[in-house]
Amino acid sequence: MAGLCREAIDRALEDAGLSFSDIDAVVLGKAPDLFEGVMMPELVLADAIGATGKPLLRVHTAGSVGGSTANVAASLVHGGVHSRVLAVAFEKQSESNAMWALSITPPFHMPVGAGAGGYFAPHVRSYIRRSGAPDHIGALVAVKDRRNGARNPYAHLRQSDITLESVQASAMLWDPIRYDETCPSSDGACAIVLGDEQAARGRTAAWLHATAMRTEPTTFAGRDQVNPQAGRDAAAALWRQAGITDPLSQVDTAEIYVPFSWFEPMWLENLGFVEEGQGWKLTEAGETELGGRLPVNPSGGVLSSNPIGASGMLRFGEAAMQVMGRAGDHQVDGARIALGHAYGGGSQYFSMWVVGTEMP
């Protein structure tokens, strides 16, 4: 685990032209400790992540944690507490059993779901019914994201040969979610160096235009888990802070947390890119492909790599890479404004940021 984090951290520091001595504080994010069975991993990793002798925070918001971690690190800089903060997030699922860890029953709850897919499948069904979306939309997303992943040297799954037919022929796991529409179980880490204006002087940077986080409870009966209020509220606050009134036109590319294919159209609506019920049409028209009106997950997204604790930060980091022109083979031409998005828990934690090529 230490080595995993260190690979990402060393690359981030090199990319930033900095060393550990330049870092004022470290913020670590990771999904539940239960996964790898290391309690409060920030403690055992303190030395490896360069935190010894410094302020160290650990952020914990389930699947969205990678995003929340970046937001917390950004707050530390924004609030003037530190000049340069290292944000790192990871998951080592090969030393874990995420399916089991996500199936345990909290006290006083009926055991109704098997794994994350079991929890979300009913929401996907509900979305399909509400929107009237045709059955193949999920498979379209899977094909797109896996083919994008093939352009990303860091992706876990890189499947340039994947087709609509092969996805639709794959085993049904939680109706209507099929095997090839499901995220992998990955080992991975992501590290980002955040700095103030001074730190950015004379170097290419991705500038934060807005950050937002909102939360809602897991089991409140009045929730809409298909189009969660917290997600809508976070997006509204985000666009307002960024001065964006028409996200579909003004955002060049979006890295959205899509662990099961159907979440692409669902989140496009929840984020306000399109009206409720219209998300699937954007996908069907190919507008979320590379070269489309709004490329979604050019990196291959969570469907190609899902080290759960890191996945949110990977979205945020990929968005930053896009506006810095550093996304290599999966670069969206001329991307100047990008969205990074993460969600977690029972579709209850939302964190997101907007980054841009220019200082706001």
């Binding site: 685990m1 400790d33 790898e36 069975g37 290391v38 309690m39 409060m40 920030e42 403690l43 055992v44 990793l45 303190a46 030395d47 935190a51 010894t52 002798g53 410094k54 302020p55 160290l56 917390v72 707050s75 530390l76 924004h78 609030g79 003037g80 507490v81 006290p107």
Partner: protein
Amino acid sequence: MKIRTGEVDTALVYGFGKSSAGQLRRVLAMQLDPYLVGPLWPDSVSVAGLQARLGIDGRLWSERAMAEVAARSRAADPGAQIHELVTADELFERPYVADPLRAHDCAPITDGAAVVVLASAERARELTPRPALITGIEHRVESSHLTARNLTTSPSTVAAAKAAGVDGVTLAELHAPFTHQEILLRQALGLGDEVTVNPSGGALAGNPMFAAGLARIGEAATRVMAGDADRALAHATSGPALQQNLVCVLEGGA
């Protein structure tokens, strides 16, 4: 942080722990390196025992001094989980649980929660006549390798205290789940006899995980707001043998 960025004026902070639902000593053993140390199952009480032994052998504290901390903590608050009127001499006669630690040297297993309402200084003054203003809050972490540290001192506490500015405090709520750790922290922070330590009884009187540190801040703030102290320090710790430490300085504001 959110208050500091100006995004919000008030914030609710809470922590809770329900350790009775599990085996805390075993769970805390899993804070240590999972490959090289964890398999030995060094539980939290044993690790603290090693630290206590180092201090006893180094003549920094004694089992009797530890018993005195325990006696004082147990008497502090009739409403606390642990409340017992007993002398240090009586405690000293009780058996070990993990030599040199006796039961009274260790914080109890506690189910509990702590809540603090924070506000910007301006908003705080609207809400209460004598808010407790945070004039400094700092934290540092040390190496996870127990053998790389001098376990009888607390450099991270000292560094955090220095950065936070603790001069002139007359009251200190120290998050010490073991009696020897209260003595260790007192020594590390250079707190003289004029400083009242743990009037609440501290973690030894009740130690809800993920809340006990916040409770120290709350207890210190309560006394500052009541006028019992103008300047107080609250400390929180995490990890084996005081690996990570936070120091918060509170001042009575009018």
